[in-house]
Each structure stands twice: as C-alpha cells, then as structure tokens.
C-alpha cells in the first residue's frame, strides 16, 4: 500500500525540499521586487536562504518562563502542516496524493495549524508581548476565515455543476474542461476577495498586526532565537508559497501540458504572479492597519465581495 513514490513526493517534489527551495526563492524575489518598487537595490535573491542558515547557527536561548518542549516543538508542527497542504494541492491535474479526494475543508483546517503553531509557541514563551501578539494573531485568523470560506463555497458551487463539491480534484477537472476559474465573470469578485485574503493569511505587511515589530516586538516570536526562530521564518516563506499556490490551484487552473515538470514550472510562475499582485504590491503601498480595522475590513468589504460571487454562483451564472 505504501509505494515508494510517496516517499519521493513527501521528501522531494511537492514535499519538504521543494517547499524549502521554492518558498525561500519566492520570498527572495518578493523582497527584491518590493525593494525595486522603493527605488532601492534590495537584498540578493538568496537573502532568505542566508537568513535561515544564519539563524540555524545562532544560539538558542530558552527563557526561564518558557515551557521547553512546546517552545521547541511548535515551529516544526507548522512546517509539517504547510508541506502537507502543498502535497494536496492539484497542479494542473497532477496531485501528489491524487487518490485522496482531499478537499477544501482539509486545506482550510491545515491552514489554521501554522497559525495555531505560532500562537501556541508564543503562549509557551510566556512573555506579555507574546500574549498581545497571540490575541491579535487569532483575531486576524478569525477575520480572514469568513471571506475565505465564502470564496471556497462559491467555487465549490460553481465547479459542482448541479450539485456542489468540496474536492480539489473536481475543481481542477472543471477548470481543465472550461478554462480557468478567473475567466468566468461571476467568479471575478471571488478572485478579488481571495486576492485580498492572501496577505492577511500569510501575515504580510499591511495586515501583520500580530508580528508588528515596531509596536509589540515581533509579537509571538519575541522570545525565539536561533533554530526555532529559523524554522518560524521558514514557515513564513513556505506559507507565502502555499497560499499563493492555493489561489493558483483554485483560480488559475487549466489544461496541463502533461509533463509534470512543465506543469510545475507554470504553476510556480503563477504563484510568483499571485505573490506579486497580492503581497508585494499591497505591501509597498499601504501602511499597517490596527487590529479592529483589519477585522472590520475583512468582515465587511472582502466578505461582501465573496458574497456577491456566492450569490451569482448560486443562481447558476
């Protein structure tokens, strides 16, 4: 039952190694373009890789108030969940664990695990800054959950034809049949809503109320140093990759070219595009919001957009 291909999938292609390299590269490009937008040269493309390796070499201080096992274990749990999502996302019809009709609900809950790992890690560090950071992180998770769910329901209804579907495979087949989801006019508000949800899910600048280094000293990560901090930073990079990959899988699907490598390359290109439009552009032009502004923005404006396409999809348009 356990064929060796699984090991290859888990460890190499859409699994751990691919996520590590692709995520770091994605963040490097993101920072470079962000710098270019501000008329400055910006760090080298491999800067996130250097950051990660440096943090791996630094000393790990476990504060007196911290609870050691949870403090050290939290980052790894986050990384594992992110890699699992990457395994379940269809890239133009190719999914690593294809026979699992793993569907959107599994992905929604897997997406809450990295946020939960940051929160539990911050709680375990026992610092009051972390306490405030946790509360803000949880509020931002609640705030982007409503529009995300509505968008997924709209897509499920659209891709389901007469019935409704949760399974990513059905969505991929639907997009292979009649073009990317974003081309359907009734799905454009949902695409816009999802584009706005992506930065908050990743914790990107205008919505990074939880890790506001100027106000509450990096929020939950205040007591982290050395290897655990390195893994948390890696989680941030891989989450950028995974969330934009989710957007690409949901909206920018289509008929694959058949060769897995080519599909993966196009898919990665789409992820770059999504990262640019959703994270870099918004990050370069907006200032950080307050926590209840983030909540109100997501539960009124973005949820409204998602509702529009939900209603349209409902009436079969």
């Amino acid at each position: 039952m356990f064929n060796p291909m699984w090991l290859f999938y888990i460890l190499v292609f859409p699994g751990a190694l691919f996520c590590f390299v692709a995520g770091t590269l994605l963040n490097g490009l993101d920072r470079k373009v962000y710098a270019k937008m501000q008329q400055r040269i910006g760090p080298p493309i491999l800067q996130p890789f250097y950051d990660f390796m440096k943090l791996m070499g630094k000393e790990t201080i476990i504060p007196y108030e911290a609870n050691k096992t949870v403090f050290l274990g939290a980052p790894v749990v986050g990384f594992v969940a992110l890699v699992t999502i990457m395994l379940l996302l269809p890239q133009f019809g190719f999914t690593a664990f294809g026979e699992l009709n793993a569907d959107m609900i599994v992905i929604i809950y897997l997406l809450t695990i990295p946020a939960a790992s940051i929160i539990i890690g911050g709680a375990a560090s026992g610092s009051p800054y972390a306490g405030v950071g946790i509360s803000r992180e949880m509020v931002s998770v609640i705030s982007f959950e409503l529009p995300l769910v509505m968008v997924l329901l709209a897509i499920g209804k659209k891709a389901g034809g007469d019935g409704v579907t949760f399974s990513m495979k059905a969505i991929a087949d639907y997009q292979a049949a009649n073009g990317a989801m974003i081309c359907q006019w009734s799905m454009i508000p949902a695409a816009l809503a999802m584009l706005l949800v992506v930065p908050c899910e990743v914790g990107c600048h205008p919505f990074d109320v939880a890790e506001a280094e100027t106000e509450i000293c990096e929020g939950p990560l205040v007591e982290y140093s050395g290897a655990p901090l390195g893994v948390f930073k890696l989680n941030y990079y891989v989450k950028q990759l995974v969330v934009s990959a989710l957007f690409a899988a949901l909206f920018l699907g289509g008929k694959g070219t058949g060769i897995v490598a080519a599909d993966a390359a196009i898919f990665y290109g789409e992820c770059l595009l999504v990262t640019f439009f959703s994270m870099t552009l918004i990050r370069a032009t907006c200032a950080r919001l307050k926590v209840e502004q983030v909540f109100k923005f997501y539960w009124t404006v973005v949820a409204g957009l998602a509702l529009v396409s939900l209603v349209l999809a409902w009436f079969g348009l």
């Binding site: 270019k36 937008m37 008329q39 400055r40 552009l281 032009t285 502004q293």
Partner: protein
C-alpha cells in the same frame, strides 16, 4: 473606512527605473566640499597656546609632554575623534591654522587608536641668560627720564 491604494502608480513605474541608491562600499564617494571630517594636525605650526584645548566642547584635545632636554621640549597633542563633535572650533580658533578638518569621513575603528589623531611639536626653550639684556634696556629708558 477609506482603504485606498495610494502611490500604486508610482510603485509600479519605479520598478523599472534605475534605483536611486549609491552603492557606497563598492563605489567610492567623496564628501561635500567643506565637510568637517577627520582632523589633521600640522605639528610644526603649533605654538602650544592651548587655545584649542580650552575651546573644545567635547574635551577631545590633550597635550602630553613626551621628552624634554635642556633646549627644547617635545609635546604630543592628541585629538580623540570619539569624543569630538566636529564643530571645527579648534581649527577656527587656531591662530596658526595648525588644525584642519579634512573631507575624509571614513571614521570607523575597531581599536581606540584608529580614531586617535596624534601630532608632535617641539617648543624651543629660551635661554635664562636673557635676563641681563632687559637690564640694559632699563638704563636706556632711565637716562631718557633725567
């Protein structure tokens, strides 16, 4: 609430313009014309009037007697750049313009000596016999007085 997207146009256009960044460590750069940078001390011109020591707010200038023999004393004047405010009072007040603030701004140092400017100067001692001469002068003015 108005969540507008300011500067999107500028952000997008700037992506393709040349960055306004001076790659300093890799491309050399001169300071502005009369930038008050590292201090240079011309020891020979100094007459040890001590005015610069008095006028320095940061107390960065010190004077140390190094060696002394019968006809001249050798002093060493040190300028401690780490406690200097680069107000250039010392160079303005120095009548002999022995102190000069150059345009060199590469003032970083890992050891204390890197940021210590030193300069030596000698001060010729006057002969003691010179007292007699003034006596002669004294007579000359007495007979003028009778």
């Amino acid at each position: 609430m108005a969540f507008d997207f300011p500067f999107v146009k500028e952000a997008l256009t700037q992506m393709f313009k040349k960055s306004s960044c001076e790659e300093y460590p890799f491309k050399p750069k001169e300071a502005f014309p009369n930038y008050r940078g590292r201090i240079v001390f011309h020891g020979d011109r100094c007459i040890k009037c001590g005015l610069c020591e008095k006028v320095c707010a940061g107390g960065a200038i010190h004077n140390v007697l190094i060696s002394e023999d019968e006809e001249k004393e050798v002093y060493e004047r040190t300028f401690d750049l780490t406690s200097c405010t680069f107000c250039s009072y010392c160079s303005d007040f120095c009548s002999k313009s022995a102190i000069e603030l150059t345009g060199d701004f590469h003032m970083t140092g890992t050891k204390h000596e890197d940021l210590l400017v030193k300069g030596q100067y000698t001060k010729v001692k006057k002969k003691p016999v010179a007292k007699a001469a003034p006596a002669a002068k004294a007579e000359s003015c007495d007979n003028k007085a009778e």
